[in-house]
């Protein structure tokens, strides 16, 4: 590490491009949204930055609050399911040998690398009315009727275009977000502590709850935040898998910018989502620091 004054010209040459790109194409656009969030529509295209809080107040109307609440509980439930589903996977990865570890990691990461839209589309194909699941069920139903069971007519399960579909889709997409930080945390764990707990007579479940989980708390917190935040801001999954009543914040923001043409309100909603995001990351940093202190004792 060197002081920048030691070689000023080299320093400027290195820092100019990344910093300028960041400021021009990230800070400036975000600042414009922020300015719009305190602006007012004047005519069809003009917006005056008046410093009003009207747009934020609008976000507390019942319809908008309902969308916010839906978004929050849907992403919270998604995160919880990801934790429950992902924890055993991360645990198995931690105690696998090197080769198995590499394979499991690859298997978890490969869908993650695959295009999000393709994955969502694949889910639609499986879950729609005449999709694989319903066809399979219809086949079973046909067989049962054939052997003489009074089954009635077959009703395909309404798997798509509801909150259930949104949650399945969000879990499908965000599972790797949970598994990777969990694995990273568990892998750093001192395995002898687990062995000690087992030797001293605690069962596997008790060891898990009283030794592994507290020690891996920072990793779990990281996983929760890293899963919850993108799920909360997800646009594509709720849009394609949900029905008209299953709006989430991102779709609401998109509507203000594309169809409703109320850019200041859209900007305010966008910044509410930003604030939630930043609060959660701050919380995570706090938990991590605290966790570090506990670990040092």
């Amino acid at each position: 590490m060197r002081d920048w004054r030691e070689d000023k010209r080299f320093f400027w040459a290195i820092m100019l491009l990344p910093t300028l790109w960041f400021i021009a194409f990230f800070v400036v656009p975000m600042a414009m949204v922020w300015a719009y969030s305190v602006g007012e529509n004047q005519g069809p295209v003009d917006v005056a930055i008046t410093g009003t809080f009207k747009n934020y107040a609008k976000a507390f109307s019942p319809e908008v609050l309902k969308v916010m609440w839906d978004s929050i509980w849907i992403s919270a439930l998604t995160t919880l399911i990801c934790l429950i589903v992902g924890f055993p996977v991360a645990l198995a990865m931690t105690f696998a040998d090197e080769k198995q570890k590499a394979w499991l990691l690859l298997l978890i990461m490969l869908p993650f690398w695959t295009n999000l839209l393709i994955r969502t589309y694949a889910l639609i194909a499986v879950m729609r009315t005449s999709g694989v699941i319903n066809n399979g069920l219809e086949g079973v139903h046909g067989l049962l009727t054939l052997v003489g069971l009074p089954m009635g007519s077959f009703e395909p399960l309404p798997l798509l275009y509801n909150k259930f579909a949104v949650i399945v889709g969000l879990v499908y997409v965000h599972l790797p977000f949970m598994v990777l930080p969990l694995y990273a945390a568990l892998d750093r764990l001192d395995k002898s502590l687990i062995e000690a707990s087992l030797d001293l007579g605690a069962g596997h479940i008790q060891t898990l709850l009283r030794v592994v989980v507290p020690l891996a708390a920072p990793g779990i917190a990281a996983g929760l935040v890293i899963t919850f935040i993108p799920a909360l801001g997800a646009y594509l999954t709720p849009d394609l898998l949900g029905g008209p009543d299953d709006l989430m914040i991102a779709s609401l923001i998109e509507r203000q910018f594309k169809r409703a043409n109320d850019w200041p309100f859209g900007a305010a909603l966008s910044f509410i989502l930003m604030y939630i995001t930043l609060i959660f990351f701050a919380l995570r940093a706090f938990v991590e620091r605290k966790g570090g202190k506990v670990g040092a004792h």
Partner: protein
Amino acid sequence: MAKRAARAPLDYLGSPAIKGWLAGVFLFLYTPLIILILFSFNDSKANIVWKGFTFKWYVKAFENDQLREALFNSLLIAVVVTAISLVVGALMAFMFWRFRFPFKGALESGMNLPIVVPEICFGVAVLLFFAKIGFPTDLPYPLNLSQIIIAHVAFAFPFVAIVVRARLESFNPELEFAALDLGATPFQALKDVIIPHMRPGLIAGGLLAFTLSLDDFVITFFASGPGTVTFPVKVYSMVRFSVTPEVNAASTIIIVITILATVLALRAQKPVGKES
């Protein structure tokens, strides 16, 4: 009891319960994708029952001018974004690794923001930005893709920087001093000692930028001017209306490209990793 003693207490992978759980998780993750790939070869428009093997959906997808154009646009954008993000990201990593300067901490957290900001927020910001600065929307092809490229680079290069920075942390500074002692100029030391050490990070970062760009729908959706279509945007409009085997075929092509890129990147990383 005897069964339990057969495996080590921490060998969770050996436990039947965990094995079943893993099988379930991977079934959940892979069944939709495998079915999607299978049905791209199915000789039936309905996409429901297996009617026999065919390549006709691939032919159709390639004959669909819009789809082909969208696919080509996406790949072109991804390649350009990867190249620019690699340069900008590597510079950013090097800057924070090498130098101490005022407001470093603030700048560093700021420049990591694009990673955590929800896509939708950055998407609308980009839309607003290009609309208000009066960015020309009537540029000739391929320059009309530049809005998308600029936006993609803005969120992709901090990812590249993180990967490259992680790699730089393992650099032994004595190697650079040795090079300088042995008469290398600072530039030569950079080019022949530091950059070769960065290479695995650059490869991994490049792959990350490539997939991020190829994958992105939301930001492209907001950044693209009229008449520029990328693959995700095109598929999005097709999926809204119906599920057709043509989309399956095009998706399979993208999946194969992604897997190839991943395998190549893993291969490229290995020998270098072993050397150091």
